[in-house]
Symmetry: C2
Subunit: 309 residues, 2 copies
């Protein structure tokens, strides 16, 4: 049976139940629930996978608990630089933005790059110029301010350290990214990924999130994938396309391909994190090699889960 | 027999013998020869593949005939924004820079990102800050000025047009990128790619060249690849890693994998261009689906060619 479904994530890393307070846990679960159901609602009404993943990611971007959109971490200059990408598995069209400031919903801008430009990847000030041209919502720096994120930054801002999200550990072990993958009633797949990057990051660092084939990929004939993890390792391992290629050229199923990439190939080079994936038949996988990953999934065959550890 | 060898390219596109003047043709052939032989010289002395590809690309970057380093095209603000990437097939380490200004040899900076930072991709002003920290050679705008490139830009600067290189055709059909791939005596593979991007480009556009797995990839167990072409299509097709994956998961040889990617899969979505590739045994392929590609290759088994059409 071909399934219609959606999966989302809100980052992976050292997320331990022993260190979580009950209220915060509840808020995370509620945030995931809201994003999951708002995306699924579109699929249920016979909507497109691309609309469903965009909607789910917008919900996560608007929730300050997650490191994307509002709630993005601070760079070393006290600003917010965000990355996002989106891909349509029906026609392999894709859009991506890197190191963009002031954009309320970077995933919306990535979609406009896909649909209203001749380009796939835009970066920095240039991407902001494009955003203004296509009327993307711009916010001032105050909109992105979050007390918790600010404290994280103050703690390390005069050091050379950078953190991938709000872990206090060094090396950082929490990867703040959000993402969604979906399969709609017409069998179209889509993937969307968005991140606020690393706390105190500098040098205009780009991670895996905005890179098509790495942090995000969708192809109707194989699968749709959104990743979260130690971006540099994901880049070197071309993670999302690795899963797709194992299915296409190696004849593997989604589960085996995901496990091989996350639990073998990525570990071998020292990378940690996870991904969410849905295949051409609607099967969903949510593998990770860290202690936890904020994740949720739902389909028309009775699957419904929201999990953290 | 395992071969030691190197291949280089200086871009692909509508390059017709009928439109080439004999002196210019000679200069192109000489530029390719010099880059090829300077890279091969390193391999002959038992040097590393990574040093050989860097050296060959530096030669091409320093030659104003090619759209990379000196000779880079003008952006819509009359500046030069360059991209470059490098990968070491021995350990899958990689470095990349996007939209960098004033860097004499972007490939050198990409290598320093690989070796002296915790990151893989750096962009814009941040990448320039890093370049200063690691003492990469900075040049002022005059260094990059080239009369021919300036004329190209003046012709279209007040329009919305952009050109991938110095074709006067619309749509543009010449892709200005340089690259090198090599296999050394120890069986290590490496790839390097560098570009000045598109004439009159705006919005901080990033093409395939600086993206690991797309415009550049190296893995000792499969192959090393450097691409040149319509970057947006290459990004969507994850071209370099596609070739590697077909070999790794599909059991194809280099020639079949290259042909399938360049002559079938890329054409299917509308992309044109070419790539250079060397596999784990030192076999070399130089496929392209355009009229021409500036290319050259040389190995310890008697291969020596420098070709344009």
């Amino acid at each position: 049976m071909k399934k219609t479904g959606i999966a989302i994530h809100g980052g992976a890393g050292t997320i331990l139940k022993s260190q979580m307070n009950p209220e915060l846990e509840k808020n995370y679960l509620n945030g995931l629930k809201q994003a999951l159901e708002s995306g699924y609602e579109i699929l249920k009404k016979d909507g497109n996978a691309i609309d469903a993943v965009e909607k789910a990611v917008i919900e996560l971007e608007n929730n300050p608990l997650f490191n994307a959109g509002k709630g993005s971490v601070f760079t070393n200059t006290g600003k917010h630089e965000m990355d996002a990408s989106i891909m349509n598995g029906e026609n392999l069209e894709a859009g991506s933005v890197c190191c963009v400031k002031q954009i309320k919903n970077p995933i919306e801008l990535a979609r406009k790059v896909m649909e209203k430009s001749d380009h796939v990847m835009l970066t920095g000030e240039g991407a902001l110029d494009f955003a203004k041209l296509v009327n993307c919502k711009i916010e001032n720096d105050n909109y992105f301010f979050d007390e918790f994120r600010h404290k994280q930054w103050l703690e390390i801002k005069d050091t050379d350290k950078f953190q991938l999200d709000h872990s206090k550990k060094t090396p950082p072990e929490k990867f703040g990214t959000v993402g969604a993958v979906a399969r709609d009633n017409n069998g179209n797949l889509a993937a969307a990924t968005s991140t606020g990057g690393m706390t105190n990051k500098k040098f205009g660092r780009i991670g895996d999130s905005p890179v098509i084939g790495v942090g995000n990929y969708a192809n109707n004939s194989t699968c749709a994938i959104s990743c979260t993890g130690s971006g540099e390792y994901f880049l070197r391992a071309v993670v999302a396309y690795d899963v797709s290629s194992m299915m296409e050229f190696g004849g593997m199923n989604l589960e085996d391909a995901c496990n091989k990439v996350i639990h073998e190939r990525l570990l071998k080079i020292g990378g940690d994190g996870g991904l969410i994936a849905i295949d051409h038949s609607g099967n969903i996988q949510l593998p990770f090699n860290t202690e936890g990953m904020y994740r949720a999934a739902m389909d028309n065959n009775g699957l419904y889960k929201i999990e953290i550890y």
